[in-house]
């Protein structure tokens, strides 16, 4: 249009597809590996097409687990991870939406201070305060529990900021009309604010679910029992340094299983995902 170009932009398409293929290649290989015999893989003879062990490998992975390392069925690990991700996502949303509501719609002493306290948590991800936080959790007796796994991660302010920003854009007239109609703060919240926040909640849910599912350092520290392992930690434990002992096909199958839920969430909820990413970074 602006520049005379007859036909589609071949160069651009080529670049984009190269990018897509490079992105997808590691995952493709992983999938291939999860369908072959372990000996084929270990010999370095693995071909680039799927093998015939798909059902067998995945069955063993999900319901039995690796034979030589932890003997934990990956299916159980997935359940752990799912619980963790959901608790983190839902917990964070609940806490931050009511906090944002309090900060925006009320006037009270120390309001500003409270807000800043919450805001500051953005500055420091958990990796920076791991050992002291670990000590606190340990002294509360929460090691190897879901509570210990999830609650410290709910602390940060991402959601609160998002909701506060959003609440600021809700017209004052809505509140005034509600008041005239006789609604108190709880009513207003449930009947008006919550429905209006639906897209923001969806967007935040996608981001937080991925965040929770993909947690590494924290579960690594907090859980020691095999039955509390999350899938992301579980994988690491399967890779033993003497590679001859690593059951690569199980590792790869586990990797596929670890990727599917968050990727599925991103693809199915893409619109909210994009919105969530953009909004939480402001």
């Amino acid at each position: 249009m602006i520049d005379r170009r007859s036909g589609p932009d071949w160069f651009a398409h080529a670049v984009l597809w190269t990018g897509i293929l490079v992105m997808a290649f590691p995952v493709y290989l992983t999938f291939i590996a999860s369908t072959h015999e372990p000996s084929t893989i270990a010999n370095g003879q693995m071909p680039l097409v799927p093998g015939d062990k798909l059902l067998e490998t995945y069955w063993q992975t999900i319901f039995v687990g690796p034979t030589r390392t932890s003997r934990m069925p990956v299916g159980a690990m997935m359940v752990n991870t799912l619980v963790m991700a959901l608790v983190i996502a839902i917990g964070k949303i609940c806490i931050s939406i009511v906090s944002a509501y309090a900060v925006v719609y009320f006037r009270f002493p120390f309001r500003r201070t409270a807000f800043w306290m919450i805001f500051m948590t953005l500055m420091l991800p958990v990796e920076v305060r791991i050992y002291p936080t670990y000590n606190v959790v340990a002294s509360l007796g929460l090691l190897d529990t879901f509570a210990g796994l999830t609650v410290p991660l709910i602390a940060s302010a991402t959601g609160t900021l998002l909701f506060r920003q959003f609440f600021m854009t809700i017209p004052d007239e809505l509140l005034e009309a509600s008041k005239i109609d006789g609604a108190g703060p709880v009513r207003f919240f449930v009947d008006t604010v919550l429905p209006l926040s639906r897209t923001n909640i969806a967007a935040l849910f996608v981001i937080l679910f991925i965040y929770g599912w993909n947690q590494y350092l924290w579960p690594l520290l907090i859980t020691t029992r095999a039955d509390m392992q999350t899938i992301v930690i579980g994988i690491k434990k399967m890779i033993v340094t003497a590679d001859a002992l690593t059951e690569w096909q199980i590792v790869m199958a586990t990797a596929m299983l670890a990727m599917i839920p968050p990727v599925a969430v991103v693809l199915l909820m893409q619109r909210w995902f994009v919105k969530g990413l953009v909004e939480t970074e402001k």
């Binding site: 992105m23 370095g44 906090s99 509501y101 990796e127 509140l175 590679d243 990727m259």
Partner: protein, 293 residues
């Protein structure tokens, strides 16, 4: 920015804020405060008594060559990943922006790596580049290069950089694409009429207008490399070989695991905290200035 219409209750807001404040205090401020306090202490060998030693821990830290090593590793890591992932993402975004229809399709096909855990990404790349059985490793060895990230520190660093970049490109791509799509078409058309060809238009008009986005991504990427890459390192090289891939965050983890030097580990944490605060503050201040419209 204050709301004009509010509620008058006194106690309800405190109730609403309580959960978040409680968790924040217990799991954030208290540990952070502990870390700062501990960084000024030395524990004796038996863990019985502690002594307040002001900045000795910090001094000891800066006397360790390993600490400088960790800083160097972190720096090399951040710069490489940032530069690589930003340029690749920009290229892809510019190409995608050229498509009038189909830009959304490409978006879907390129943003999903964001959902993959860093540790998983690491496992994928580890698998490809495993010296003995990795598909790509085979190819590299066939070229005559003795590829071995288990023994060669540089190779290990390259592996980790590739895994981290792979993940980060999709995030950057999303933001660059959004930035490109927010430039009004008429400005580009005006430049075309003014006589600027495609390349010139990009460097004199598009890129300057993209700079707030680029700047923002720069800071985010650096923070990402500092912290979120812990999983990648742990799952692939474990900080090795011979600490070749040990970043500052990883060092905190390693030193604390051994349990011997609580003060030193705390001091490291405090330094990292300071860096993040500086980066975030820097970002807030300068981002606002540069927004054009």
């Amino acid at each position: 920015m204050e709301k004009r219409a509010i509620f008058r209750q006194r106690w309800l807001p405190y109730l609403l804020l309580a959960p978040q404040l409680a968790i924040t205090l217990v799991f954030f401020y208290f540990p952070a405060g502990q870390a700062v306090w501990q960084s000024f202490l030395i524990e004796d060998a038996f863990g019985i008594s502690t002594e307040f030693v002001w900045f000795e821990n910090y001094q000891a830290l800066f006397a360790q060559p390993q600490y400088y090593r960790a800083m160097a590793n972190t720096a090399v890591f951040s710069v490489s990943v940032t530069v690589l992932s930003l340029s690749l993402a920009l290229l892809l975004a510019v190409m995608a922006d050229r498509q009038i229809k189909g830009a959304n399709g490409y978006k879907t096909l390129l943003i999903w790596p964001y959902a993959v855990a860093p540790a998983i990404a690491a496992v994928l790349w580890l698998f490809m580049f495993q010296p003995s059985l990795g598909v790509v490793a085979r190819g590299i060895r066939a070229l005559g290069i003795d590829w071995n990230p288990l023994l060669n520190g540089t190779h290990a660093m390259i592996l980790v950089i590739m895994a981290a970049t792979w993940k980060q490109v999709s995030y950057n791509f999303l933001f660059f694409l959004a930035g490109l799509q927010s430039i009004p078409r008429s400005v580009i058309e005006a430049a075309a009429i003014d006589g600027a060809g495609r390349t010139r238009r990009f460097w004199t008009i598009v890129f300057p207008l993209l700079s707030p986005t680029a700047f923002f991504l720069l800071v985010v990427n650096v923070v990402y490399v500092f912290f979120d890459t812990f999983g990648i390192i742990d799952a692939t090289t474990g900080g090795g070989p011979a600490k070749a891939t040990e970043t500052m965050v990883y060092k905190v983890y390693q030193d604390g695991k051994l349990g011997a030097d609580l003060g030193g580990s705390a001091a490291q944490s405090v330094i990292l905290m300071a860096i993040v605060v500086a980066l975030t503050a820097f970002q807030f201040r300068y981002i606002e200035r540069k927004v054009h419209y």
